[in-house]
Symmetry: C2
Subunit: 342 residues, 2 copies
DNA sequence: AACGCAACCAAAAACGTTTCCGAAAATAAG
DNA sequence: CTTATTTTCGGAAACGTTTTTGGTTGCGTT
């Protein structure tokens, strides 16, 4: 491997001169500058990023953490777009992405792994189950490592987070259903710990209250963002005998599960019961019936998470966190006017 | 940042002893060993991977290159599963993933970027347009950097590649169509440079010849793996007036385009014309009509690419390259018996 | 008492950079 | 022709490790 030293000896100058030249310092004679650049090109030189990082304490690398369950990384239908956006904007700023695989490391945390690798900042892309590690999260918040997350409320001087307006999104969904004449609406929520789940539940309740439709606690169930669990809960819900005419699921995957369970029972969607999902993952448009859902702007979610992170890292401008992005109701085929006569 | 030096001074030993201790060398007294570990824990020490990499010339990092067009990275419907698999197996082996964003670097190549970052190996995930950079590829093959690729035929001592059995896959697709009674089958291929495209074309031709159905060159068109191009070509094909009863597209995205174009013209799928795709991306199952397609084992593609790479890096076992994985015909709704009477 | 052999540890070089500081050379000012 | 000022460059420390080499120390053996 050809180093700065080789160039120096070939050019008859010191390594510090070579370094200053290559980094475009002003105090170097044009003649020697040209010579050094010429030799560098001849020798096919390129700098060693590792050595540079060691002294500069800057790696031009952004760390990425996924949850470590399956279906929670690149193959997650929601995160694939946000990670794509993150890559785009950090790339334009000159950073590469280090995806932590964090396997077989016992006592490792986000913080220790980040410090070991000396990444300049990190973005957290956690699914439901990953968010419960608050001890890790508080450690991170206090660590001083620049970090942003999607959906998980990080607070701290070097922290930021961005999320969709889950409250309003859920509210929109329910209002859509109400405008269609539905009055008995079940909610398949996420979990009991994430802010995301909580906000969507609140939106559901608020919309119901706004329209003077009573809240029936037995109508809200937890699906933990898992399709199978959602199927199970819809079966349970139907078995209660209540005349439920619409379901709102806190994710598209669960909505698909709801529809699948409903269909298995013999109920037609949307003729007999309407269902709306949340997220607008790719499959939602192709599913049959095509899902009516609340679209999250996944690309924007990722890009602003990255932008906020870069601001924190480079200390430019106020962080203005959290950022909350609007959702959009996408009406497709899984919702229809309520058929049940009062 | 607490370093090995801090531990050394606090323990009253030299830094080399600390290093040897932490790396579990044998020649260190149990008493000092315990003391050093205790202090390390107290000080919340963890090693600096950058410094270690500098001396060891090993980063425990696998580089990943995507094409730099949009829809060719994480958001590519095909690669999301393979990158997921790559992450899984390299993670188990103790490597992290460095995703190159390679923006705004003018003269950078796969080779120079990899050497700059000192990654231990790389995997290439290129879409059609990316594969034409053969000067970059030959440079890489000669560089001695361990590398594997999906679908692009890398040869060299430190290179490997894995692909699906595109020839047999295409052959299966056509045979399925033939068994359904189709005799006039159009082919919407990929491009004119990639091996993948070429093999699928060969499979198409071979199947036709095996069944004594003549080859009509005007029935094969290039869609460049782009939906819109595929739509255009199907329109062109229909306008020729030939009684085409089936289309075979070299990718699911193109197959969807074909169906869309057909539907726009007023032709029904599969009643009037059958179409089969290639890949079996997620959307294929949800699309309507659900796509009959040739499934590539995307996870296996990624995992064996990673396994081969690790073998090359760690010099264990023969590389046995290329690896070619079988495809599987998935019959869904977009194909049916030929309705046209002879 | 002398020797050999373990066991244990310290010193120092090395990895490839950046960067601070000061020195030499060149130029300008007096 | 001296002095002051700029321009240009080299020396050396520093970043945090690993790894080689060799040196003590202590012990058991003759």
């Amino acid at each position: 491997m050809v180093s700065i030293k080789d160039i120096a000896s070939k050019a008859g100058v010191s390594i510090s001169t070579v370094s200053r030249t290559l980094n475009h310092y002003a105090d170097v004679n044009p003649r020697t500058r040209d010579k050094i650049f010429k030799i560098a090109k001849e020798l096919n030189y390129f700098p060693n990023a590792v050595a540079r990082s060691l002294v500069q304490k800057k790696t031009h690398t952004i760390g990425v953490f996924f949850g470590n369950k399956t279906n929670s990384g690149f193959d997650h239908p929601f995160f694939q777009d946000v990670i794509s956006a993150v890559r785009e904007v950090v790339g334009n700023a000159g950073y590469d992405l280090l995806v932590f695989t964090n396997k077989n490391k016992e006592r490792a945390t986000y913080t220790t792994l980040s410090k070991e690798r000396s990444v300049d900042g990190i973005v957290l892309l956690l699914t439901g189950e990953g968010k419960k590690w608050d001890h890790q999260l508080t450690e991170l918040q206090e660590s001083g490592i620049p970090c942003t997350a999607i959906d998980v409320p990080l607070v701290g001087e070097k922290c930021g987070f961005v999320e969709s307006d889950n409250f309003s999104g859920a509210k929109q969904a329910i209002e859509h259903l109400i405008s269609l004449g539905h009055t008995t609406i079940a909610f398949i929520g996420g979990d009991e710990i994430s802010k995301t789940s909580f906000d969507r539940l609140r939106g559901y309740q608020q919309a119901l209250m706004d329209h003077k439709l009573g809240l029936d606690p037995t109508l809200v169930r937890l699906g933990y963002f898992i399709k199978e669990k959602a199927m199970e809960e819809t079966r349970n819900l139907i078995e209660t005998g209540k005349q439920i005419t619409a379901f709102f699921a806190a994710s598209d995957e669960m909505a698909m599960g709801v529809i699948e369970a409903l269909t298995a029972i013999g109920l037609r969607v949307p003729e007999d019961v309407s269902v709306v999902g949340f997220d607008d993952i790719r499959e939602a448009a192709y599913f049959r019936p095509a899902l009516t859902t609340i679209r999250q702007n996944k690309y924007k979610l990722g890009s602003t998470a990255a932008e906020v992170l870069l601001k924190i890292i480079e200390n430019t401008g106020p962080s203005s966190c959290p950022v909350v992005l609007p959702c959009e109701l996408i009406v497709r085929e899984s919702t229809a006017a309520c058929s049940r006569r009062e």
